[in-house]
Symmetry: C2
Subunit: 407 residues, 2 copies
């Protein structure tokens, strides 16, 4: 049996018109002799409206009831899709998670799928039916509804692709794929045909619009190839797959994409005592207050007594961070500086693992445009630099051209 | 265990404010040491919105998917009620029909509850919890959702009252009980403390605003006493119970209430052949076209050859009726007359079974006000007369006074 799993996100089923379009896409796969399993999200805005209602009742709305409430969204979208397919002459029916059943690990609000009972759906596929399965939900061992976090229908689709060993897993959404960089920042940005899970994970600022990082991680761990496509326009999308599939691809470029951040802030502590454990003593209270520190650089101490420590955080956390540092008696420093006009620009690509000189090319390219680098951080497949916000577009343009992404 | 079943209709849970009010009512019973089982409808307008969506897909939206779609309404209201009770410090949780489970006879869209598994809910009640059960829905033997018709949460509450042998079954709604007649038509209308199932069934025009006739019939067949109350004002409601409980009540009046219709039409066929089967030949095509004939009167034939036949139908069906009669070759008549300005006024009361002279008093009372009676029909506990619409208020006033309902 040639199975394809199709996932439709909220905007792709956001109106009756969109549901009709989704049905047409489903039918196109049936005509290509695929057995189609559909996973659907709630119609867009529905889930947010339900969350709002729960918040009116309580800021700490009980998680078990939250899951019952918000999973009602898929109970509305799925029968509408099935109804449209039946209207068009196909055999179809909706499947709520308790009917499959889809089992989860048990935790409310952020559960994970542990098992999918395949028997009924396989029988239905064989009979020529198109099952429309509610995404985002499962039941736990106590027979209660457990949802799997926002964007959880991607995770549902990935697990269905794994359990049914599907030939394809296609995520239909409102963007048409992953680009080399944000097309709003650079007109010559190109859509990628293929990207590795790892690159996708590193490319948060580009990737998050397409898929939540933890769904990419799910796909990676379960070795499920994912095609991201638009349900609005009929164009090829982007394939997210194993690194190996890409490294072996000779037409591959060294760099896959360039991302940039919007809301970072840089904090510098001048005149910090240069002794072991000083960094930890600063970052501990920040971490205890859920403040995520991203890039960190500690200057080499000129006098062996004092040094400067620079790090970046989310702009939203800046006031909280200043307060914590100023009020913490264990942190000794002479001056606290901060800068709101920074942005982190990153080049990402599995190709850099096997290609030397990438760092140099990046720095030289920015230097040619007189762009000053404030902080640097690197991983195996990503190099990030912190620069002044006003230079972001120029930097992206320079790097896009340097690494041949324009073609 | 002293169990009470509380049912909340759509307007009674129609907003977060209303849900808070419903929770307060629930808590008041908990404080009176009742074990409370709550049955809730969907928040008002939700079900209608879902039905509208299904109609945009298809005029013949498949019934099985319709049931999945519309039953999502209760999946939203129930967790919100449970959440509010938890917020107020009580133990509560929602229960969808498949979790109870509530079994139905199997038919989609208009199913009936055949069994309720009590074990889990009893255990939960004993533990001090307040179960909030989704009304209007059940599952059939194929594990699919089946709804039990509009207003079906009343039926759910009645079946819970029966299966759990509850002390009380209270329907909370947006009217505060059943009145002797429509308060909009007669200011001196009084709220009834008690009414029999049978009277309630006959009092369609008054009763339907409070409960659907088939729910009253459900209560009657299952011998469940029902109290109808408003969730908006704190007042005593109306008890709907067995005839016996009322006849034995010495303070009881002969007549319980007076109802009137708004949208009837009178049709008269002049010069119909007076032979056996003539009425059937006229009513058969009407019935085949789902036209409901209410009052019928066939004049005594003056010449033994021809007669006149008069009947009433819903005003909406008038054009269809005229067309059917005019196009049907088997119906011979000289002239077709119709009158849109008619209303059926009925006096209802189990008391008339044991009291002679009620008919006479009704007719005399109307005659005193010079109100002409066009058609008469009677049942054991109801006498109806068709009169000109302009006389309706006058007639209700006369009868209300004649049968001492003003007091």
């Amino acid at each position: 049996m040639k199975i394809v799993v199709l996932k439709f996100g909220g905007t792709s089923v956001g109106s009756i018109e969109r549901i009709r379009k989704a049905a047409k896409i489903i039918i196109s796969y049936v005509k290509k002799k695929y057995k189609v399993i559909v996973l659907s999200s709630a119609m867009s805005t529905v889930t947010n409206d339900l969350v709002k209602k729960s918040k009116k009742i309580s800021k700490n709305f009980p998680h078990a009831e939250y899951d019952v409430l918000v999973s009602a969204g898929e109970q509305m979208s799925c029968p509408l899709i099935a109804g449209e397919l039946i209207e068009k002459g196909f055999k179809s029916r909706s499947w709520m998670s308790w009917q499959v059943p889809i089992l989860t690990e048990g935790k409310h609000k952020f559960s994970r799928i542990s098992h999918i009972y395949k028997k009924e759906i396989l029988k239905y596929l064989k009979s020529g039916g198109i099952p429309i399965v509610a995404g985002f939900q499962g039941i736990n061992s106590k027979n209660r509804i457990t949802t799997i976090g926002r964007g959880g229908t991607d995770a549902s689709a990935i697990m269905f692709a794994k359990f049914f060993n599907s030939e394809k897993c296609i995520i239909y959404t409102d963007v048409d794929g992953v680009y080399t960089t944000d097309p709003n920042k650079l007109k010559s940005a190109k859509k990628l045909k293929v990207i590795s899970y790892e690159e996708m994970l590193e490319m948060t600022s580009l990737g998050a619009k397409v898929m939540q990082p933890h769904s990419v991680q799910d796909a990676r761990l379960n070795r499920v190839d994912i095609e991201v496509k638009s349900s609005f326009v009929n164009k090829s999308g982007t394939l997210i797959t194993k690194k190996k599939n890409i490294i072996n691809n000779s037409s591959n470029k060294i760099i896959t994409g360039i991302s940039s951040t919007q809301n970072d802030a840089k904090v510098t502590l001048v005149g910090v005592k240069d002794r072991p454990g000083i960094a930890a003593s600063i970052f501990k209270p920040l971490s205890q207050n859920s403040i995520n520190v991203d890039m960190v650089v500690q200057n080499i101490s000129a006098n062996g007594i004092e040094t400067d420590l620079t790090f970046t955080i989310k702009l939203d956390d800046l006031n909280k961070t200043k307060k914590i540092i100023n009020e913490n008696k264990n942190i000794n420093f002479k001056k606290l500086l901060f800068d709101k006009d920074v942005s982190k620009v990153s080049i990402i690509g599995v190709g850099m693992i096997t290609t030397p000189g990438v760092t140099y090319r990046m720095f030289q390219s920015l230097a040619n445009y007189k762009i000053n680098i404030q902080v640097i951080s690197t991983s195996e497949i990503k190099i990030s630099v912190l620069i002044n916000k006003k230079n972001v577009k120029k930097a992206i343009k320079a790097l896009h051209s340097e690494f041949n992404l324009d073609k």
